[in-house]
């Protein structure tokens, strides 16, 4: 991953560390001998000289293994260079600095920021690349020089003169021709994209599908107890649900008609069926769902067991 990815996040973090602890006089982060980020008080020279001295130490530190931490205690302050996730974080603090506080801040914040940058950045980088691929028409100069290059290509095929400007070798010619083909293809691609993105932006931006269908809330899931529903005139594909629950659904989805419900048993089996409200007032408000035997068999459930019910929005 590019070092630039971390630069902004780390710079902000370094500045904040210094704000939180003014005894930190300077701090910066480096990796592979390059400065990744530095706070506002650290000069380029300070960082470069420190990195150079650090490299001189690590070159001779074979006896210790890879260097993880250096703490230099001086008469007027302290310098700490610590390895965090392959980055070296340098913290310079005055003698008065609270060592524990500075260490806690640095050793917690920096690794978190590095990890977050690693996690967040790949997705956004990919998106950026995709966007560029679709919209970027290529360097402007390529198009500006296109006519000139075409002329050269034609000249090469029709006549070979002693003119110095036309003294191109075979590879150059091949490159020119392939470039020309590329530009032509690119131009076609751009032309095919242009009507959507540039010529008719008013039509391209508001997509009618989204305008017609406003976002609907997730269907609420209600847990109910199964009760048997029987009788000669009872349809076998319809369950009966409490009137209050149906009211809630209607309020939630307004004009969207709810014709069916999805019922899920505890064993995970689901089925869609029609629904009506519970007729008998004594059964309403009890948290039950009246279910014909056929549906109970489909769901492999029975009276007294729990099922979840949610409306199916058409």
């Amino acid at each position: 991953m590019s070092n630039e990815v971390y630069a902004f996040a780390l710079k902000s973090t370094l500045d904040e560390i210094q704000n939180a602890c003014p005894d930190v006089t300077s701090n910066f982060v480096f990796k592979d001998g390059k400065i990744i980020a530095k706070n506002k008080t650290t000069t380029e020279e300070d960082a470069t000289q420190t990195i150079r001295a650090f490299d001189a130490i690590t070159e001779r530190a074979d006896a210790l293994g890879d260097v993880e931490n250096i703490t230099i205690q001086s008469a007027k302050g302290k310098v700490n260079i610590a390895n965090m996730n392959d980055f070296y974080v340098t913290t310079v603090s005055s003698k008065e600095a609270d060592e524990k506080y500075v260490n806690t801040l640095t050793r917690i914040l920096i690794p978190i920021v590095i990890k977050l940058s690693e996690k967040i950045q790949p997705a956004s980088t990919d998106n950026e690349t995709e966007t560029l691929d679709q919209t970027e028409p290529g360097p402007e100069e390529d198009y500006a020089d296109e006519a000139t290059e075409e002329t050269y290509a034609k000249d090469d095929t029709t006549e070979e003169t002693a003119d110095e400007t036309e003294e191109t070798n075979e590879t150059d010619e091949a490159e020119d021709q392939s470039n020309q083909t590329y530009y032509e293809e690119k131009e076609e691609e751009t032309a095919s994209i242009e009507p959507e993105t540039y010529e008719e932006p008013e039509q391209a931006e508001p997509e009618p599908e989204y305008d017609d269908e406003p976002l609907l809330p997730e269907p609420p899931v209600t847990q109910l107890i199964v009760e048997n529903l029987g009788g000669l005139l009872v349809p076998s594909d319809t369950v009966r649900v409490d009137q209050d629950i149906i009211k809630q659904w209607n309020e939630l989805y307004g004009d969207n008609k709810i014709k069916e419900v999805e019922v899920e048993a505890l064993n995970g089996k689901t089925t869609r069926c029609k629904f009506k409200n519970i007729k008998k007032s004594k059964d309403s408000g009890k948290g039950i769902i009246k279910m014909p035997e056929k549906i109970q068999l489909t769901l492999e459930t029975q009276q007294g067991e729990l099922v979840t019910v949610k409306p199916v929005i058409e």
């Binding site: 130490i57 001779r60 530190a61 008469a75 007027k76 302290k78």
Partner: protein, 135 residues
């Protein structure tokens, strides 16, 4: 301090300044005191060895004598580079440096002109060792 003046022919004239002689004996006393302390520290678990040197003397005690040169160059480089970093940030003279590697660590310090490097294993108590050696 003892100054040596060499003539081109044969005689070697030695000029002895009484003040310098007394300073030299003080330096030697500090050196001897530090060497005694280091000898005790060397017996502690996890301590690999030490190097102590001043302008006139040096004592080295290492578990791996074959690595003597490597350790000596490293400790010298560490103190010099640390002083460079300290100067860059205007922090004055370096009093001590702790460097931790993946396998071992080293504690280097400068006590009254005596440059000391103590090498130890990673789990050794460097804070305690620093306390013992500090004046």
């Amino acid at each position: 301090m003892v100054k040596k003046k060499q003539s081109q022919e044969n005689a070697t004239a030695i000029t002895v300044d009484e003040d310098e002689l007394s300073a030299n004996s003080e330096e030697n006393e500090t050196y001897k005191d530090l060497t005694d302390k280091l000898a005790n520290i060397r017996k502690e678990p996890g301590v690999i060895g030490y190097i102590i040197r001043n302008t006139t003397s040096a004592t080295i005690d290492l578990k791996e004598p074959e690595k003597l040169v490597e350790y000596a160059i490293f400790s010298s480089q560490l103190l010099d580079s640390s002083q460079e970093i300290s100067d860059q940030f205007e922090l004055g003279d370096v009093t001590n440096v702790l460097i931790e590697g993946k396998q071992n660590k080293a504690l280097c310090m400068n006590i009254e002109g005596n440059k000391i490097s103590i090498f130890m294993e990673k789990d050794a108590d460097d804070t305690d060792i620093l306390k013992q050696i500090s004046p």
